[in-house]
């Protein structure tokens, strides 16, 4: 049983590597985080930073013959990495569920929505086909599909993008999972539908008290729904903390770059969108220093070229539960935030 102060999910020093012909890809490189039930952790980072690989690890979906995984993934006192395939398979879809990014390809084109929802439901809950179908209709209604008793017999290609994502969510929720990994659930959708889907997730979370990991490359989405944020860069956590604290006073250059690249919808000034300049490093031969150094505007402020020679480790930041991996000292960071960044961001917010 879970001890009272033990986190529901406790990931420790997770490493995921893929040996390939070109070398070993270090997709996740020493990631640690915790999550309580009823809370949402936002994982944010550019494409290729290891977010999906992290999510797939939680469900044990990496092919063991092509992947090296180490570390620990404690879920209610069990280390998932020590479980065998059949034990894991019992948990998948039942205790841990995943919502995938592109619902068009993530749903099978060959079976009706109802058939697909019902199949996963029956796999864990058992019962008759008729009961599973009824469950599918209920779930579709629950996620806001109109006329669910008719729509249940539609194929995915007969649904719109937003409806497919709702169906995908219905599918993931069919067995009331206690941990839900949502991998960019709104990326393919327009802003209105995106907001509806995020509301839906929040509603369902308060109803079932599930823990949600919301993976995205969009800090705007994070700010709407997450309790905590983890910023990933090149397979590592570079900054984490409470969502309000982190978004109002981000602590390190990569997060600064991400925040400056969010479009602000209701801004009266027309601020151009600045993506973080440069490209992420190859995950095969990572630099020995800070992986962000080639793209960093501030490494010159750190003495003795430490940014290029020494890898910054994740250390506590000022706020409770917060952490950051950067060599800049606190005083310099505060000065940059107060004098350069906040005035810039204030100016662009309504």
């Amino acid at each position: 049983m879970t001890a009272p102060n033990m986190p529901f999910l406790d990931v420790r020093d997770l490493e995921v590597r893929f040996p390939t012909d070109d070398g070993v890809v270090h997709a996740v490189d020493g990631l640690s985080f915790t999550l309580q039930r009823g809370k949402t952790l936002g994982i944010v980072g550019e494409s290729g930073s290891g977010k999906t690989v992290t999510g797939l690890s939680l469900l044990g979906l990496h092919d063991p013959r092509r992947t090296q995984i180490s570390g620990q993934i404690w879920l209610e006192g069990t280390d998932l990495l020590t479980l065998g395939e059949s034990e894991l398979n019992e948990m998948r879809g039942e205790k841990i569920a995943m919502i995938f990014q592109d619902p068009l390809t993530a749903l099978s084109p060959f079976y009706t929505i109802g058939n697909q929802i019902a199949e996963g439901y029956r796999r864990h809950a058992g019962g008759s086909k008729a009961a599973a179908r009824k469950r599918a209709v209920d779930l579709l209604g629950r996620v806001g599909i109109p006329q669910p008793d008719r729509r249940v017999d539609n194929y995915p290609h007969e649904f719109s993008g937003g409806m497919r994502q709702r169906a995908m969510i219905a599918m993931a929720l069919s067995n009331n999972p206690s941990l839900l990994v949502a991998d960019e659930p709104t990326t393919a959708l327009d802003v209105t539908v995106q907001a509806q889907i995020l509301d839906l997730l929040a509603d369902l979370q308060s109803e079932f008290n599930s823990a949600i990991i919301l993976v995205t490359h969009d800090l705007g989405v994070i700010s709407q729904v997450a309790d905590d944020v983890l910023v990933m860069y090149a397979g590592r956590c570079v900054e984490k903390g409470d969502v309000r604290a982190l978004l109002s006073r981000p602590q390190m250059p990569y997060t600064w770059g991400l925040l400056s690249s969010i479009p602000r919808l209701n801004s009266d000034v027309d601020v151009p969108l600045v993506p973080v300049r440069g490209a992420p490093p190859s995950l095969i031969d990572l630099p020995s220093g800070c992986p962000f150094q080639p793209r960093c505007d501030h490494s010159w402020r750190v003495a003795a070229d430490r940014c290029r020679t020494e890898r910054p480790v994740l250390r506590p930041s000022g706020v409770p539960g917060g952490g950051l991996a950067c060599h800049l000292d606190e005083e310099t960071r505060n000065r940059i935030v107060d004098e350069d960044l906040l005035p810039l961001w204030e100016g662009s917010r309504s």
Binding site: L59, G93, A97, A106, S108, F110, R123, H157
Partner: protein
Amino acid sequence: MLRFVVRRLITSVLILAVVSAVTFFLFFVVPGDPARLSCGKICTNEKLAEIHHNLGIDRPLVVQYGDYMKGIVVGRDIIETGDKVHCDAPCFGYSFVNHQPVWETFLDRFPATLSLALGAALLFLLGGVSLGLVSAIYRGRAFDKVAIGLSLTGASLQIYFIGIVARAFFVDKLQWLPQPGYTPLTEDPGQWFAGLLLPWIILAFVSAALYARLSRASMIEALQEDFVRTGRARGLSARSIYLKHAGRAAISPVVTVFGLDLAGLLGGAIITESVFSIQGVGRLAITSVFASDLPMIMATVLLAAVVIVTANLIVDIAYALIDPRVRIS
């Protein structure tokens, strides 16, 4: 679905009409006088003219075509060796060589070819596709490697080589198998099966290789589909993942290729029939060509087209049954 089938049926009939017209005009426009073929050694001008008239080829081509098609649909009267006879539908005329109704000869030969082709197709589809699917699941392991080796061997063999070798070895030397040949199923089912066994195996082995490689490749691709990953993320059983989800996606390309491959299957039948001395349509076609037996050639070409178009119709319907997206568009 019903609308889809009706639409495809109409297209099939149109295709057949075009094929028949093209074939007809090609055969009757080519240089050479078909009348000479049935005229015999002592051929006077009067006799030739009479044959022209009897064959009806002194009339405009379009009228002749209309007559030919009418014969197929409702039957017609024909002057055969001097006498006027009624040729019942479907009438493809009389052979120039043995003066038998073409349709009867065809009916006599067709069951042998059909037995050969269907039996072999069943074998190579079942064998090839299951071999391919299983080796995709065990990709890179021992089973897969043996299967790849086997299908490479199969693909590089030719029927007339392996057929003759297998016949000499299994039939003549070891006497494990009876002499290949065709006995009508209605006459003696045991004989029918025994005589076709070796031709089936040989024809299937050569084609199974293609289907094994094709279905292996398409299963490997299907296993990488996002929806297969979704299935695994929901804890579905291996059986459901492989058969229900990945298998269904893997099978569509196989069905398509099978549809395209049917003409090849009939072509293969010609060789197989010759190697195993089976009196089928394939051999009939060859002898007719050598004997310049025009009505016979014409009928084989047309009927082959009917078989291919019908089989393609079945394949298309199967495809629509497999993939719901096809039904809509």
